[in-house]
């Protein structure tokens, strides 16, 4: 089947919650003096936490697939695995096509650089080529409406201005696979409407989308299919209406 754009096979992801409390010298001394402490540590249940267990799904070309589930269900972990940021403990994910991860915007902004310099830096971080950024530069600037601040260090920007610039850089591509964590509406009211419209046009523009949201309304509106995750386990995959209704029933609303 060559129409599959993303394929996840038995993906499991383990985090070790105890990593923060790894072995330290201080602990070593304490245990040396008091062997009981050492025994206690060894007997403690291990802190393995499975954020995802045996998750499998396929996303076809042009499909818009939603991911729902309560906080901590593993949605963001799944997005990060598809984006290649995390490597699954078991199983594998294959993505066929260039991915635009709109998970967190403005990755790699340097506050000391000007807006112009940051467009190029952030673009490079997103994997754009120099030629591409140069050709789209005017479009990015026009969308962000920051023409008058191009030579100002981003340090002096308001947080809304930074978000507008980041959003404009991120959405200038036409990716084959778009990964979105919530509708990212940023800036003031006018820009929020504009950014939401842009997101919708990207989602509806025929690209393959993997979309996380807590709003079942927007999921029902946008998605063809929905994957419901609960504590890292797939509870159901099906049409948006069917799965959303099941999910809402489970949550008790």
């Amino acid at each position: 089947m060559d129409n599959v754009m993303v394929r996840a096979e038995n993906v499991s992801m383990m985090f070790n919650l105890g990593i923060e409390k790894g072995f330290s010298l201080k602990q070593g001394f304490v245990e040396l003096l008091d062997p009981k402490k050492r025994k206690q540590r060894k007997e403690k249940p291990n802190n393995d936490f499975w954020a995802l267990q045996d998750v499998s799904f396929e996303i076809g070309r042009g499909e818009v697939v939603g991911l729902i589930g309560s906080n901590g269900a593993g949605k963001s972990t799944m997005l990060k695995i598809v984006a290649g940021v995390l490597k699954p403990t078991r199983g594998k994910v294959e993505a066929y096509g260039n991915i635009c991860p709109m998970i967190e915007l403005g990755a790699g902004f340097d506050m000391d650089l000007t807006a112009r310099e940051n467009v190029f830096l952030n673009g490079a971080v997103m994997g754009y080529s120099k030629k591409f950024i140069e050709s789209k530069f005017d479009e990015i600037v026009a969308f962000s409406e920051l023409q008058d601040f191009l030579e100002v260090p981003v340090r002096n920007f308001s947080s809304g201005m930074v978000a507008r610039l980041a959003f404009s850089v991120a959405t200038v591509v036409e990716p084959e696979i778009l990964i979105v964590d919530e509708i990212l509406s940023v800036g003031d009211i006018a820009f929020q409407a504009k950014s939401e419209e842009k997101m919708l046009s990207m989602i509806n523009g025929g690209t393959t989308v993997l979309y996380v949201s807590h709003s079942t309304d927007s999921i029902k509106k946008l998605c063809d299919r929905v994957i419901w995750l609960d504590h890292g386990v797939v509870q159901g995959i099906g049409t948006s209406k069917e799965i959303c209704d099941q999910y809402l029933k489970m949550v008790g609303i």
Partner: protein, 264 residues
Amino acid sequence: MQFVRNIRYSLKKYGYLLDQLVSRDFKVKYKRSILGVAWSLLYPLLTTGVMALVFSNIFRFTQPGVSFLAYLMTGLTYFNYFSEASNLAMSSVVANFSLINKVYIPKYIFPLSKCLFVGINFLLTLIPLYAVLLLTGTGVNWHHLLLPYSYLCLFLFTLGMGFLLSTIAVFMRDMFYIYGIVITLWTYLTPIMYDLAIIQNEVMQVAMKFNPMYQYINFGRMIILYNMTPSAESFGACALSSVLVLLLGTAVFRRNQDKFIYYI
């Protein structure tokens, strides 16, 4: 072959990012300073001047026909590159966590970009070095064309150390402190301000030649100060040490890079 193809693909895809990271460092370094890039030229001159002032009175430098200032500056040029680049490379992975956590970027790009960035600075410090060579009457000769060989070895060695150190630093932040002490010790164990001949203990003298930094500096001094072609052993020692450390560093980095994200 597969490996070489991977590198070529990676360079093509991430070459522009590398370029951006290096130029970012460069832009940020001199922002808001009045002298700007001129500091890259002045700073090594001034620090060498201070050291020459201090150390020419402590050690009796007994090499007829060789200027102590030129001797010192040759050593410092090499060593300062290593110490600055390895330090920046060590913290580069930890410092870029926010990027690593958000988008997929090959992680080797961070130590590599730091080593390249300091490399540009290194090339700038060659200007004051040559100024000193001319002023002290040391002069320039045709053998200087061999110097880039030692620069390349120095770069590869530093890159290997950068990979190794940045990996350790991710799992063990103590490394930042430990390495600060190591590099101080390393500075004094490398004959930068003194001549290896003043070491009385013969075993010690031989042991000190196993220091790769000594090999690169010695290679440079052979050419710059003594107007000689370095020996075949010198060529070999430089290549061997740099390639070995680079292979070790790359192997350690590659084995561990997928685990970085849990420890940062």
